[in-house]
Amino acid sequence: MPENKFFNILISLLFGLTISIILLPIILPLTISFSSSYTITFPPRGFTLEWFINIFLFKSLVDGFKFSLMLGIFASLIAIAMSLPATYAFYRYNFKLKGYLENLLLSPSLTPEIVLSFMLLVYFKALKIDHSFWLLLGHVLILIPYATRYTYASLINLDISIEDAAVALGASRLKAFLDVIAPNIAKGLVASFLLSFIVSFNAFSISLFLSYGETLPLPIAMWNYLQVRYDPTIAALSTILVIFTLTLSLIVRKIVELRGVR
């Protein structure tokens, strides 16, 4: 393609526009975190780290963070433990209704979260399931499509016959899975765990509908805080969450890259 000055400028402009559409809405409001103003105003005025300290003074936010952390970890682990056998069956065997079953496992991600949340609330109440399990069960349900997708992705590139090769060499099916399949999908499972965790950590409607009692997941705790106090604390917390999520996704990227060069 010939060098074209006009074309190059156009490309640069488009690039700048794309970046500003994607990044600016995330970055600009975060500058409020450092504003010395007592309400949320933009552009920020002055500079202070007070709001970051303030986060830790509110028990509901600190507890919410811990709670969301635990909820995310357990829900992701359970979702992966549940989807692994299913994805393994999809990977290993061909059977009737396979396509339908795959879609069924992905369906929670196609249902609007608010609808799903509402239906689960009704459902759990009708079944008289103990309140303390609502959030966990709900989160597991919304994570299953993600866990399924990412776990499947780590299996799909693996040559199916290595398991048969191990069996032919004398290994039992289980031993073959542990010896030759598991080590090759371990990184994929870690990536799958981290991505599921991010989804759980950010889930709002399902957490709102299924929360019960004193301790609330972080997004709900933040929402409640905003109802009462309109100060930059939430912006400061958001800054931390953005960095936290970004770090997790960078780790995932690193893992996926490592798989590539294996």
Partner: protein, 340 residues
């Protein structure tokens, strides 16, 4: 002589009455390289899974060294498999790949490495022990796969299209090497392929599989000189296959025992002589015909001649005939092959 591996009446179907394998019988001698040659859809893959135990036959038995193994699971059969794509374990080094079977058998590591060393030398893999499979060439991967299969001292080695991932230019050289290794080891081998070059170069005997039945088992030479069925003849390249009813009178054949159940006669294009005058010899049957089509092969010219028994293909090395010209087709009597 009793076979070392016997497939006795193997039948398999996924749906009743749609047979993949139909009452298949095959006997392989100890130390023999038996090639299973067939096109895709012939039932090769299914038969392979049945021999290795990944599938159970609906009927029939598999006997190895006098023992019925039909009901043994694949991990108890002691069959070494070299998979089509080699199926090396990507996260293990070459050495760990090779000793995996011994690890499963709880052989102490030092001893396993000692045994691996012998195979590594035999298979010319020295220096690659710590490499990952992805760092090896196709030929090296194949040798690792062979070493990994041989280390468990299998009773039978099964190779599934092992040349399909090898550069076609290197295949012939590799076949010779592979055959040498198999013979050094004196291992009874089932070698599955759809490639005739593969089959004829490597096999002690070739079994031709066609729609679930073995049509013909013989040495490469006998197969070429004396195919038994119409399918085999056309598969291995008999250009002319003529229904026996058309040629019976010309040959002045009395329907005797030999030709009784035969339906066709096979004639190789290379055993036909073309001439302007009929050959005056009892060894030949001469038919008058006309050149219908001329086509050029790499090293010869192919003439399609229309005759009273149908279109015949014959070769010549120079272009002495034109299309439409009259010609005599002289078929050597000895080269006629009777086919079922």
């Amino acid at each position: 002589m009793m076979g070392y591996l016997i497939l006795d009446g193997i039948t398999y179907y996924y749906q009743k009455d749609v047979f993949v394998l139909r009452n298949l019988n095959l006997s392989v001698n100890k130390g023999e390289i038996m090639v299973l040659l067939g096109e895709s859809g012939s039932g090769k893959t299914t038969l392979l899974k049945i021999i290795t135990g990944f599938l159970k036959p609906k009927e029939g038995r598999i006997i190895i060294d006098g023992k019925d193994v039909t009901n043994l699971p694949p991990n108890k059969r002691d069959i070494g498999i070299v998979f089509q794509n080699y199926a090396l374990f990507p996260h293990m080094s070459v050495l760990d790949n090779i000793i995996y079977g011994l690890k499963i058998r709880k052989v102490p590591k030092a001893e396993a490495i000692k045994e691996a060393k012998e195979l590594i030398d035999l298979l010319n893999l020295s220096g690659l022990e710590n490499k990952r499979p992805s760092q090896l060439s196709g030929g090296q991967q194949q040798r690792v796969a062979i070493a990994r299969a041989l280390i468990i001292k299998p009773r039978i080695l099964l190779m599934d299209e092992p040349m399909s991932n090898i550069d076609p230019k290197l295949r012939s050289k590799l076949r010779t090497e592979t055959k040498k290794i198999l013979k050094t080891y004196n291992i009874t081998t089932i070698y599955v392929t759809h490639d005739q070059d593969d089959a004829f170069e490597i096999g002690d005997r070739i079994a031709i599989l066609h729609v679930g039945v073995i049509e013909n088992v013989d040495t490469p030479k006998n197969l070429l000189d004396n195919p038994k069925t119409t399918y085999v003849a056309s598969f291995i390249g008999y250009e002319n296959i003529i229904p026996i009813t058309k040629i019976k009178d010309i040959l002045s054949l009395s329907i005797d025992e030999h030709t009784n159940s035969c339906t066709h006669v096979g004639i190789k294009a290379s055993s036909i002589k073309l001439s302007r005058e009929p050959l005056d010899s009892n060894d030949y049957i001469s038919l008058r015909g006309h050149v219908n089509l001329i086509s050029y092969k790499k090293d010869k010219i192919s003439y399609h001649i229309s005759t009273s028994i149908g279109m015949l293909e014959a070769y010549a090395y120079d272009e002495f005939l034109k299309e439409g010209e009259a010609v005599y087709v002289n078929i050597s009597r000895r080269s006629l092959v009777f086919l079922k």
